[in-house]
């Protein structure tokens, strides 16, 4: 193991150490627990930056693989064993920085935000294990460990979402998140099974190498597509893609910094990361499905976000929408753009969440001061005019909103632009023009709803004067992370050219991976595609700035200048509004179908088990008794003399066993003689 990898290992283990320390001794540290966690993460960030720096200077990748389990047997003349290991390439290095940075900032932010929480140390411990699992996903070089950390991320998100588990909604949300993720993971797992069965290895190199030589599962391209899509299922779950996106908005029940960390910047991005990692083995068909999935997700989420009033819900749907964007980007083949959007989005979305956390924190304090426990601290309709009260928060928030809206000079503009160029190129090659149409539409919608939120929160008049007086700017530890993230939302961190990222360091280092699936590579040659993206770039830029501007303008017209009455609009389009407000009724649909079916089947089977399977057994016992007691109906007294002769014999035969024992010795004798006669008759 080379020294750099040892450092990478340290990066992985530091948060774990934080977790172990805090889970077992957390109580002892009292309110110092947060500082300990933050210290660990600070160190981690430094190491990650160091790794990033040294990584960027070299070619190739750092890899370390060892045999974890050797089955001591051969399959198809290949020794059967499971190799695992870790690796650091450019993608990993970038992700390391993203994860540790956001995590560190969230740790910092939480020092104030979570102050006085009853499970303060537990909170930091959970942050630790989350960071650990997330880093694990990034550092591993095989699907098995990927799956392992994948599940651990699920666990830690379960713990973090359910942090305030006394609230039914919180525990429901955490459960929902885990189970919905499990559904996706199931697909991921089946995909792994297919891969394992064909290649007997789970390392990325091993699998891609084998596919490169033309080996495909079950000699069928369909199966290869299926394998890719099944693995993509994992991403659908984690990255909240349609149709498994329903858990993410609910997950806002967790503390807001958690939302920033998990549900904006890192965990949900893991799905995108998975697609990026799996990219080489995805077939053209698989990519098509992925592109559509992303597009649909982006659109649905954006449409819902327009009508939400809860500040965190708006951000949640915006996250879903942006994730759809990334997935769409990868799906259309704009690999570098997708990954870049992941990174830029991580920064500004984490910023948005933290800023909203700052607002909520302030609102909470104000409401608390008023002893008002009914007003929703997260509802944008209860805010307004906070700009002057919370300047730091407002200005950073504005930068983030501009970034997400894709206004030039921001990082968001760069990455979004590249994705849109990619979709145009994609439609050029495949003729699926619906993808770019959705892309631009969503860009417009995003600008609209984000500014709607910004305006409702910070501008205009405050709804309640007294409350307004009690609102104060958040403390230093909360605003510093905001400022750091705001800085990162400008273009120059990614490319020196403010209008195009394609010649920046990011695109250089994050090159398009070699597609190993022969058929897919032939369908869309990489060079031609990159060429076409360049070609479409100007067009994309113009269009995207146009729709964003339109969106922003519309937001100002409606909510700031109030030239258009939002209420009137809402009333005229009541059904649509209700539909969107209820999130396209996805939850209801799932409750009515999948959940109801599950519970229904469970009830039926449980009943079946109790009544039928058990009943058959008990029935057999009952039958045995019946057989030996049927008698009473053929009581010997009933059949006295006058009864039909044959009926009498039938009765005698039917007289079952026990009631034959009448106590009358002569009956016994008759039966004995009948027995004797029957025995004789058998041989005649």
């Amino acid at each position: 193991m080379i020294p750099e990898l040892k450092i990478a290992l340290a990066i992985l283990l530091l948060p774990l150490a934080s977790f172990v320390l805090l889970i077992f001794f957390g109580k002892r540290f009292m309110d110092k627990a947060g500082h300990i966690g933050a210290a660990f993460l600070g160190l981690d960030l430094i190491l990650a930056l160091f790794t990033f720096g040294s990584r960027m200077g070299t070619e190739g990748k750092w890899d370390f693989t060892f045999t974890w389990i050797d089955f001591h047997t051969m399959v198809n003349n290949v020794p059967l064993k499971i190799d695992i290991g870790m690796m650091v390439d450019n993608l990993t290095a970038v992700m390391l920085v993203v994860v540790t940075l956001i995590s560190f900032l969230v740790h910092l932010f939480s020092l104030a935000y979570m102050k006085g929480d009853i499970r303060y140390s537990r909170y930091y411990a959970n942050l630790g294990i989350f960071t650990f699992s997330m880093l694990g996903i990034v550092l591993t070089n095989n699907y098995l460990l990927m799956y392992v950390f994948w599940e651990l991320v699920g666990l830690s998100s379960y713990l973090l979402i359910g942090h305030w588990y006394e609230k039914k909604s919180a525990s429901d949300a955490s459960k929902k998140a885990f189970i919905v993720n499990r559904v996706g993971d199931l697909g991921f797992f089946i995909g792994i099974m297919i891969v394992w069965m064909q290649f007997s290895t789970l390392t990325f190199d091993g699998i891609f190498g084998a596919i490169g030589t033309g080996v495909i599962p079950f000699d069928s391209n369909t199966w290869l597509t299926a394998a890719g899509l099944l693995i993509f299922c994992g991403a659908v779950g984690k990255s909240a893609q349609f149709p498994l996106h329903v858990w993410l908005p609910d997950a806002m029940e967790g503390p807001t910094p958690v939302s920033a960390l998990i549900h904006a910047a890192t965990m949900v991005a893991a799905g995108v990361y998975l697609v990026a990692r799996t990219f080489p083995m995805l077939t053209a068909d698989a990519l098509m499905v992925i592109a559509y999935t992303g597009a649909i997700t982006a659109f649905i989420a954006a449409s819902i976000a327009i009508v939400q009033n809860d500040i965190k819900k708006i951000l949640a749907y915006s996250t879903v929408s942006q994730l759809g964007y990334m997935v769409m980007g990868l799906g259309v083949g704009a690999y570098s753009a997708g990954v870049m959007h992941l990174v830029t989005h991580a920064a500004f979305k984490a910023g948005l969440f933290l800023a909203s956390g700052s607002v909520i924190h302030a609102m909470h304090n104000a409401l608390h001061h008023q002893h008002d426990h009914h007003t929703d601290a997260q509802d944008v309709r209860n805010m307004g005019g906070l700009k002057s009260k919370m300047p730091f928060t407002f200005w950073t928030m504005l930068i983030f909103t501009l970034a997400i809206s894709g206004v030039p000079l921001t990082s968001g503009f760069l990455s979004k632009d590249e994705i849109l160029a990619g979709t145009l190129a994609f439609s050029h090659f495949t003729g699926h023009s619906i993808i770019p149409i959705i892309g631009f539409l969503v860009a417009g919608l995003t600008a609209f709803y984000m500014f709607r939120m910004l305006i409702l929160t910070f501008m205009g008049e405050h709804q309640d004067k007294q409350r307004y007086d009690h609102v104060h700017e958040s403390p230093f530890v909360m605003t510093v992370p905001l400022m750091v993230l705001a800085a990162l939302s400008f273009f120059f961190f990614f490319s020196l050219n403010p209008i195009s990222a394609s010649h920046g360091w990011f695109f250089e280092k994050m090159t398009y991976p070699t597609v190993v699936v022969p058929a897919a590579a032939a369908a869309t040659p990489t060079e031609e595609f990159v060429e076409e993206v360049h070609h479409q770039h100007t067009m994309a830029m113009v269009l995207s700035v146009g729709v964003s501007g339109l969106g922003i303008l519309l937001a100002f017209v409606t909510y700031f200048w109030k030239k258009i009455s939002a209420d009137a609009f809402e009333k005229t389009l009541k059904p649509l509004h209700t539909f969107l407000y209820n999130k396209w009724y996805f939850d209801e649909l799932y409750d009515a179908t999948a959940v109801a079916a599950m519970m229904g089947i469970a009830k039926v089977l449980s009943w079946f088990d109790g009544a039928i399977v058990d009943g058959i057994v008990n029935g057999a016992g009952w039958l045995a008794k019946l057989v030996s007691n049927i008698s009473s109906k053929f009581d010997s007294y009933v059949v006295d003399g006058a009864v039909n002769f044959i009926a009498y014999f039938a009765g005698l035969l039917g007289l079952s066993l026990r009631k034959v024992q009448t106590g009358k010795v002569q009956t016994y004798m008759i039966l004995a003689i009948i027995g004797l006669m029957v025995l004789m008759a058998m041989y005649m």
């Binding site: 799956y147 459960k175 099974m193 599950m598 519970m599 469970a602």
Partner: protein, 533 residues
């Protein structure tokens, strides 16, 4: 490899230590309650120590399975020797003990679970003496099953467990204990009589040369039964793919399936589990269920390779049904213990699916799952027991918010629950993953269908977790206390094993690997070999 203490083999010690303990317990006066408890604990602890010694001394490179030379810690004594009188020929039955990679983990598990069961029985007050005497007798029966290599001996041990179990459920159990106890008893007996018939048929089909006298004799030696060359031409079970061989395999299968329990034969399990006292549920789930699958591995597969291969798909299908069916049933339960009981059905289905794969990964996965399920389910039942001891109710919906009230308890509970869900890093994951990976190679669609079980498992486990531990605490549970040291002592070691095996499964896989490979190769190689011709 031999290991002797006081000139008596270690396997004999392991098996009969509890009998020794039982005698001591019976001799102690009824009033000496703590002496009885400590004696039982001492004996079972000693068993754990012996099992650990065995575990460390175990040679990982020897396969065993069908080869007597590579069986370890062998003990062979002639037990019954009726000289030839011309009719049966000589009847020779050996006291033949030995272990290989298939039985080693089970031996360790039995010792461990027995010890845990004794600790968890500490608060038993009713007829204490009888309780511990029966518990120790049960221990002997279980241990004997896993070390016996002579079919007759195996059968004796197999049946010895029935009666103590009947009493332990019937006397110390819940309100419907009588029903549950007799149901368990009848079911298991039904299975074992079928086993008996198959055993006798095997006895008459297999002939070996008696090394002592040089004459041809029938034998109950399991290893001899695995050798195709030992079958008499024209005997009942000679040939290949004959009706009799199928029937015998099915008889053996039903015998073991009832114990596992496999789908249509499982209905004794929820009743028995719900009514049994905690320690007995732990033993039932932890060890007894494993006997069924162990029997399949030790007897069903290697003795009837042709039938086993022929019925591989039905077996896997039953495994699939177990997984899904058990999970669904668990989902609908309101009784905490019944829920765990059904989860056992589901988890044992994974074992069945894994071993039905008949390849190394599946076999190892299944075998590891046997061990892991033993520890995880034991933890789950102990967890239910802890809460039942305090609240005297097991209704899942009656609780809530215990996480705050009982933090230590909840911590351990989270480990157990997530291990049962199959969370990576905990032992359940590895075995489930291997079982599925292996099964996928053999049964593609069935495995995909079965994999839905992992979603369902997460569903019912988390739902239970939410209902019991999250939310707000109902007022009537305000005076619940967190778990005490004794309960920690029984739960922590299991938790550690779950954790360690999750991170380093090689610890156990190493022990099983050689034997599992040999078993798979043996069955595959012999599936087409006609016996006795």
């Amino acid at each position: 490899m031999e290991l002797k203490i006081l000139n008596i083999g270690i396997l004999t010690w392991l098996t009969f230590l509890p009998v020794l303990g039982m005698i001591i317990v019976l001799l102690l006066p009824k009033e000496q309650k703590s002496a009885i408890r400590w004696t039982s604990l001492g004996i079972t602890l000693l068993q754990v120590v012996f099992a650990s010694i065995l575990f460390t001394k175990f040679d990982r490179t020897l396969a065993g399975v069908n080869n007597a030379d590579t069986m370890q810690f062998k003990e062979v004594f002639n037990w019954i020797n009726v000289h030839s009188t011309g009719w049966f020929g000589s009847i020779k039955i050996d006291y033949f003990l030995g272990i290989d990679g298939i039985s080693m983990p089970m031996v360790f598990l039995t010792a461990l679970i027995s010890c845990v069961a004794v600790i968890s029985s500490w608060s038993i007050e009713k007829s204490l003496k009888g309780y511990f005497a029966l518990l120790l007798l049960l221990d002997t029966g279980m241990m004997g099953v896993f070390v016996a290599l002579d079919f007759f001996l195996f059968y004796i041990f197999w049946e010895i467990m029935l009666l103590p179990m009947y009493f332990l459920i019937g006397v110390w159990g819940g309100p419907r204990r009588e029903y549950a106890a007799i149901k368990f008893f009848l079911y298991t007996l039904l299975g074992s009589v079928l086993l008996l018939l198959a055993m006798l048929a095997l006895y008459f089909s297999v002939t070996i040369i008696d090394p002592a006298s040089g004459e041809k004799i029938h034998t109950f030696n399991m290893l001899a039964m695995m050798n195709p060359a030992n079958y008499d031409a024209g005997s009942i079970l000679s040939g290949i793919h004959t009706t009799w061989r199928y029937l015998a395999y099915v008889a053996i299968f039903i015998g073991f399936a009832i114990k596992v329990p496999i789908f249509p034969f499982h209905t004794w399990l929820p009743d028995a589990h719900v009514e049994a006292p905690t320690a007995i549920s732990v033993i039932l789930a932890g060890v007894l269920l494993k006997m069924g699958t162990y029997g399949l591995l030790r007897i069903g597969f290697p003795i009837f390779p042709d039938a086993a291969m022929h019925y591989l798909y039905p077996l896997a299908f039953l495994g699939f049904i177990n997984i899904i069916y058990g999970a669904f049933c668990a989902l609908a339960q309101k009784d905490f213990k019944k829920l765990i009981a059904y989860s056992s059905v589901s988890h044992m289905g994974i074992v069945i699916l894994g071993i039905a794969a008949m390849n190394t990964q599946g076999m190892l996965g299944g075998m590891l799952q046997m061990f892991n399920h033993g520890t995880i389910t034991a933890m789950l039942f102990l967890i239910v027991g802890v809460i039942y001891d305090r609240a005297h109710t097991r209704g899942v919906d009656e609780f809530g918010g215990l996480m705050n009230k009982m933090p230590k308890y909840s911590g351990i509970m989270i480990v157990a629950f997530f291990a049962a869900i199959g969370l990576p890093g905990l032992s359940g994951f590895i075995s489930e993953a291997f079982s599925f990976l292996g099964a996928f190679q053999t049964f593609r669609w069935l495995t995909i269908a079965s994999a839905f079980g992992i979603v369902l498992t997460a569903g019912y486990m988390l739902w239970t977790l939410q209902r019991v531990f999250l939310g707000t605490l109902p007022e009537r549970w305000n005076d619940l206390t967190d778990i005490n040291t004794r309960e920690m002592i029984m739960l922590i070691p299991l938790g550690i094993i779950v954790l360690v095996l999750g991170l380093y499964p090689n610890l156990m896989l190493d022990v099983m690997n050689t034997s599992a490979n040999t078993l798979v190769d043996f069955v595959r190689a012999n599936a087409g070999v006609a016996v006795g011709n």
